[in-house]
């Protein structure tokens, strides 16, 4: 196991190195630099003179060719410094990311918990009631939801709950008068704002997980040991819960590992639609502003989480299934 882990971690580090190198090359080749793009938004009187730009280029190390700059960035990262965001007044990238993290976590953690809480009962119910009219209609609806793109759903929900009914706010995370509200009022305010984004984050994975659980259950309940359990008189719910469902946990557990990166990555288009101040939006803004260090910080985090998630899935697989071992 130890050897396996070491090999995986070393390979992961190599992949990480390659990813950051490729992404750094790509973003440095996009036209414009943080300085020139920032300038375009300012009024002409504040435009930097060429000499000034040259001085600042030197100061920020933008005058170096990209491969040299990459190694400067890399050596800083190894020393624990993710750099500063030039367009955001030189704020450290770590601070920027930490500022945006709670907003994304509110959505992703709630949606993950909801997904598991709802999809397991739905999946089990669909197995027990397999073939009935109610099950078939629920499964069809879930399949349609699975195919409904989240950003279309988001726009439809906004249309219904904001324009038509006027029940929920259109975007943002809190109202303008947030500061004046009581604690309960603040919680209610955030809840109102978060409701639609959470629904959009949840329904797709809910549909996917319920179908996944149902498909696995369907395979398991055909096995001999289920027939044995039924034959010796184990009550129906116990057969489903203790005998069948336990045996579908293995693929489910590995799925947890693979959802790890999505907890922090946010969703660019959804966050854009709801103007939600999360990681996805930060990422989109950073690309638009050619904010190299922020983009690199986020990419580093996402890809490290993705690799870690894959590793976690494989390790969990060995933990829950004693037949699997990595020798």
């Amino acid at each position: 196991m130890f050897n396996y882990l070491t090999r995986r971690v070393l390979l992961g580090l190599l992949t990480l190195l390659l990813i950051t190198f490729v992404v750094y090359a790509l973003i440095r080749h996009m036209p414009g630099t943080p300085l020139t793009l920032d300038q375009a938004n300012m009024d002409p009187s504040k435009m930097l003179s060429p000499a000034e730009i040259e001085r600042m280029n030197k100061q920020y190390g933008l005058d170096k060719p990209w491969y040299e700059a990459y190694f400067v960035w890399l050596s800083n990262v190894v020393r624990g410094d993710l750099g500063k965001s030039i367009p955001q007044n030189n704020r450290p990238v770590v601070r920027l990311i930490l500022d945006r993290m709670p907003a994304t976590l509110v959505l992703s953690v709630t949606s993950l918990v909801l997904t598991y809480l709802l999809s397991i009962p739905i999946g089990l119910w669909a197995t027990v009631r397999s073939g009935t009219f109610a099950e078939r209609s629920v499964s069809t609806i879930l399949y349609m939801l699975y195919s409904l793109p989240a950003f279309v759903a988001a726009l439809y929900l906004q249309l219904l709950f904001y324009s038509k009914l006027g029940w929920l706010p259109l975007f943002g995370m809190m109202s303008d008068n947030y500061e004046t509200l009581s604690t309960a009022g603040r919680a209610w305010d955030i809840f109102q704002h978060a409701l639609l984004p959470i629904v959009c984050f949840t329904y797709g994975s809910l549909a996917y997980y319920s179908r996944f659980i149902r498909a696995n259950m369907q395979e398991v309940i055909r096995q001999d040991f289920i027939r044995t359990a039924k034959a010796k008189g184990v009550p129906g719910w116990s057969v489903i819960w203790h005998h069948a469902f336990r045996n579908t946990l293995i693929p489910l557990v590995t799925l947890i590992g693979l959802t790890l990166p999505s907890l922090l990555s946010g969703a660019v288009i959804l966050e854009q639609i709801f103007a939600w101040p999360g990681m996805g939006r930060l990422f989109f803004e950073a690309i638009g502003q050619r904010d190299y260090d922020t983009v690199m910080g986020l990419v580093l985090m996402f890809s490290a989480l993705t690799l870690l998630g894959q590793l976690l899935a494989d390790v969990l697989y060995a933990v829950v299934d004693p037949r699997v071992s990595y020798q």
């Binding site: 390659l18 793109p149 324009s163």
Partner: protein, 370 residues
């Protein structure tokens, strides 16, 4: 030892329907699934709509006779220069129904089913009896503008019909690119194994781990003047990983089969075995991620158009309509409802086809179906 009576043997052989090849078997299994067949029909209809968009809705005649010659002005919707310069020099565009008769009383023309245009606002008296297009909040769906009009008074139905072209072609072209890259890399990795597999697997992992939006946005920004074709290429070269992984797994499995050994024994060359013998058997399972990929490509295209990184503005796209709708969400619901529905149905159809294919090619499910 029992011997089988020859007549009985033929009886056994004739018992079932004649077993066809792999593809006819797959098709037979696929055809049994009603929803998948409906979805396939829907996609075919969409392809026809995309192909014949200028015949369905447009302001240029499909065919007309002008000063003794036959022209096909609607071809101008495909490529601008295909609308004969003679017609453009006669200042006919925008005014076909009225000016054609003015300039040549002998002329005749056959018009598209709906007289509307995705690129300009139809004015009053362009078409006898048709009022000018309303714009902005007054452009709700009506008798003349079935799906309403946008901020500038362009017809939404016309934009959606012409936007089908980009949605369909993005799906097909980008997935063809992805399929070629994915199958090649997967085939090489799976067939040769060893260090080639090691290197190519790292490459697959690398592309999988880079957030696809970084890759797409960076590539889109690097080629600053983006056309639809660029967009398709970018989507294609960022979404081949799942195809490559599946192709690799299939090749790993198939290269150990007897027919490959047999082919090698008769001296077939490597490429011949890969492309002629193995690929043919691996293609049906690989079609599954390709079909799902088409749905994903359509989503990426509309998402990029929504973010404002799609094809350049005059080209109608479902995602661009959504973007316009989002900025006027309080009044102009029709700008969101219809394009959203189109995206949803198209993605649903491709997912259903993909699922049907998956079930039709999966040997485990195939046996249980019998």
């Amino acid at each position: 030892m029992s011997t089988v009576d020859p007549t009985q043997q033929t009886e056994i052989l004739n018992a079932g329907p004649p077993s066809g090849g792999f593809w006819s078997e797959t098709w037979r299994n696929f055809r049994r699934r009603k929803l998948a067949m409906i979805a396939l029909g829907f996609v075919i209809v969409l392809c026809l709509i995309a192909l014949f968009a200028p015949v369905i809705v447009g302001t240029k005649p499909i065919v007309c006779k002008f000063k003794g010659r036959i022209y096909f002005p609607c071809m101008g919707y495909y490529v601008r220069s295909w609308e004969n310069p003679v017609l453009r020099n006669a200042r006919l565009p925008h005014h076909y129904p009225t000016r054609l008769k003015q300039l040549d009383p002998e002329s005749w023309a056959i018009y598209p089913l709906v007289y509307q245009d995705p690129y300009w606002r139809v004015r009053a008296d362009e078409w006898p009896g048709q009022p000018e297009n309303p714009w902005g909040v007054r452009g709700a769906p009506n008798r003349w503008n079935w799906f309403g009009t946008d901020q500038q008074g362009f017809d939404v139905f016309a934009q959606m019909v012409h936007g089908t072209q980009i949605a369909m072609s993005v799906g097909f072209v980008s997935m063809s690119i992805a399929a070629v890259i994915g199958i090649t890399i997967g085939a090489l990795a799976g067939y040769f194994g060893g260090w080639i597999d090691m290197v190519l697997s790292r490459l697959i992992e690398l592309v999988m781990c880079i957030p696809s939006l970084v890759l797409i946005l960076a590539l889109v920004a690097i080629m600053d003047n983006i056309s639809n074709l660029h967009l398709m290429a970018v989507i294609g070269i960022t979404s081949w990983t799942s195809i490559a992984r599946l192709a690799r797994a299939e090749f790993l499995k198939l290269k150990q089969m007897e027919f490959v050994t047999a082919a090698r024994a008769i001296g077939a060359s490597g490429p011949r075995i890969i492309f002629l013998h193995v690929l043919r058997n691996a293609l049906a399972p690989v079609l599954v991620p390709i079909t799902f990929g088409v749905a994903a490509a359509i989503l990426i295209e509309s998402g990029l158009s929504y973010l404002g990184f799609g094809a350049s503005p005059p080209n109608p796209s479902w995602g661009t309509l959504l973007k316009m709708g989002r900025s006027a969400i309080e009044q102009m619901w029709w700008l969101i409802f219809f394009p959203g529905l189109a995206i949803f149905l198209t993605v649903l159809a491709y997912n259903l086809i993909g699922e049907g294919l998956q079930e039709a090619t999966d040997p485990r499910l195939r046996q249980s179906a019998h």
